[in-house]
Symmetry: C2
Subunit: 343 residues, 2 copies
């Protein structure tokens, strides 16, 4: 009973089950794969695989179905990411090139990923905390109201309005504001936002005491932009693909839809990506920490402009999923969207 053949049997089971959605038996396995052995031998191997917890039978006298552990082994050792054809790559690149701004890039990316994989696509907006500063601008909105505009290298723009005790409409007020603008930009240009905040921490000391509270308020508002978790927006596409799996989906899709609405859950999913060799993370069934997603798998990766990885994207689907192809799509889309954002 050779180890290699048993794994070949597991691979064949996974492939057939993904394709047909039906428990696969020893006989039908032989029809579709050249294993070079008899059905009885395959049965023995399957019994051993079941013993190891890699496959399971829904009931006696039915075929076998891979368990979560079986998929895990398949992904880790029995498959490789399926390379995409040049035509596919070109189509992806071309579709993403057409985007006019950041919102459009994100929108196109999720839709593309959903249609490529025919599953639910999830994409996190480029994260502020890991992006870096391109420009910071201050706009007086009234005597004591100031708008702070923060532009980061991914094209995202954040603004917030702060109230000051200073009168900014006076000549002195304007001069102070100009000085703050110059110093802040000099200190932060090109820095990661998290570093920019620390760079600014002692900025107030460089100003005259009368101006310090204004400077502190500005620094505070920039720090706010950092910690504001709520701004970690997530975009979805392809939820209709959940309905497509229809009857063969073990659980109803209700809990899944609920989980998808909790954006904080999705952010956690994308955020806690496991380190793997090719950068694509796969979480299968129960590996998933959230109830309601226990019969789904998540394939995700990070993307970002330049060498900085700034956020996650991925797809979610039934554990019975074509992992090699899905992983290829996720990786390719992440690569191209990163390239677009770098421009």
């Amino acid at each position: 009973m050779s180890e290699e053949r048993r794994l070949a049997v597991l691979r064949a089971i996974v492939q057939d089950y993904v394709e047909t959605s039906e428990p696969v038996g020893s006989k039908s396995l032989l029809d579709r794969h050249q294993l070079g052995v008899s059905a009885a031998t395959v049965r023995n191997d399957m019994a051993a695989l079941e013993e190891e917890g890699l496959i399971a039978a829904p009931h006696t006298s039915a075929g076998r179905v891979p368990t979560d552990a079986g998929y895990r082994l398949f992904v880790d050792r029995l498959s490789s990411v399926k390379p995409m054809t040049g035509a596919e790559r070109a189509a992806i690149a071309q579709f993403l090139e057409g985007a006019v701004d950041l919102d459009d890039v994100v929108d196109r990316t999720v839709r593309l990923l959903a249609s490529l994989t025919r599953q639910v696509a999830v994409m996190q907006y480029p994260s502020l905390t890991r992006s870096n500063v391109r420009h910071i601008e201050f706009v007086a909105m009234g005597p004591t109201r100031l708008m702070v505009v923060l532009i980061v290298n991914t094209g995202r723009v954040e603004q917030r309005i702060i109230e000051t005790t200073h009168d900014l409409s006076t000549k002195e007020g304007e001069a102070t504001l100009g000085l703050v603008r110059a110093k802040v930009n000099a200190l932060t240009l090109g820095q990661r936002l998290v570093d920019a905040a620390t760079s600014l921490a002692s900025l107030a000391d460089e100003f005259e005491p009368a101006d310090r509270d204004l400077v502190r308020a500005i620094v505070q508002s920039l720090e706010d932009a950092l910690v504001e978790e709520r701004e970690e927006r997530v975009v979805l596409a392809g939820t209709a693909n959940l309905a497509r799996v229809g009857t063969d989906f073990p659980l109803s899709i209700g809990p899944v839809l609920e989980a998808l609405e909790q954006h904080v859950v999705l952010l956690k999913l994308l955020g806690t990506a496991r380190e793997t060799s090719d950068m694509v993370s796969v979480r299968i069934g129960h590996e998933n920490p959230f109830a309601g997603l226990q019969s789904t798998s998540v394939v995700s990766t990070e993307y970002g402009s330049g060498s900085e990885l700034v956020a996650g994207l991925g797809v979610l689907g039934p554990t019975r999923m074509d992992y090699p192809t899905t992983m290829a799509s996720v990786r390719a889309v992440a690569t191209y969207v990163s390239r677009i954002l770098a421009q």
Copy 2:
């Protein structure tokens, strides 16, 4: 065979069917309502109602189910919007009061509406085209790059960057920019965006010929903000409620999910609200122009700050829906969110 009694029978059928999700027969109708007549009489009335196309039998020897026309009549003439209790109103107001900014208001509103109605809630972002101008600011981003920031009365902020042939870093450039800023704000403050664009149309003529192309570019970018349909964002909540209807839902939820992803479809739904006496629009089943939504109903209304109605919100659910309660919820939420936005 009095007309009133026949309508009373229709009302009773709608109410029972909404409550039980099962075709209602003459006998069970008598058990639950005091109609003061015998089952045979009710049967005669039901036969007449069926003749009129207001109810239908899924098959012989089953009870009757209201048709779309039956619901229509019920909504128009047999029901009134159910008043909400003070406690409910207070809870709505309190929940919405907690919002910290516009995004949060929208987010809380859809979630609230979804949980109140236990259906899918849809809300359009306050529309730029019908909002009015609070402030327009120009920020030089570099020698030939200018950022235009538009702030409207709903708190929404739009920005876009334009390239100019002018060198804005010179003294003259700054002076021109200052002049433009002053004139633009003077011309547009408080105006509806659509009017503001026309006000600005001839602005370029007031400037020296050398500056006119700059002014034209700025005006152009503001007009862009108007027509940009893509910016008409729509937010969803409660899609998981679609799964809850489960088996008794005639069609699969796939087509519905697909329609929900097409934001342009949702915008059309919210945009083409019918005029009704109490401002709440109801579209039932086939009245709905979109395939895939033909077995759903949409209850929607407009909301907005002050006297201006700026956008739509509503819910979508199966045609078998508790219309009076749903209409009450939609109306109440629209009222309160309008109040919040007016602040």
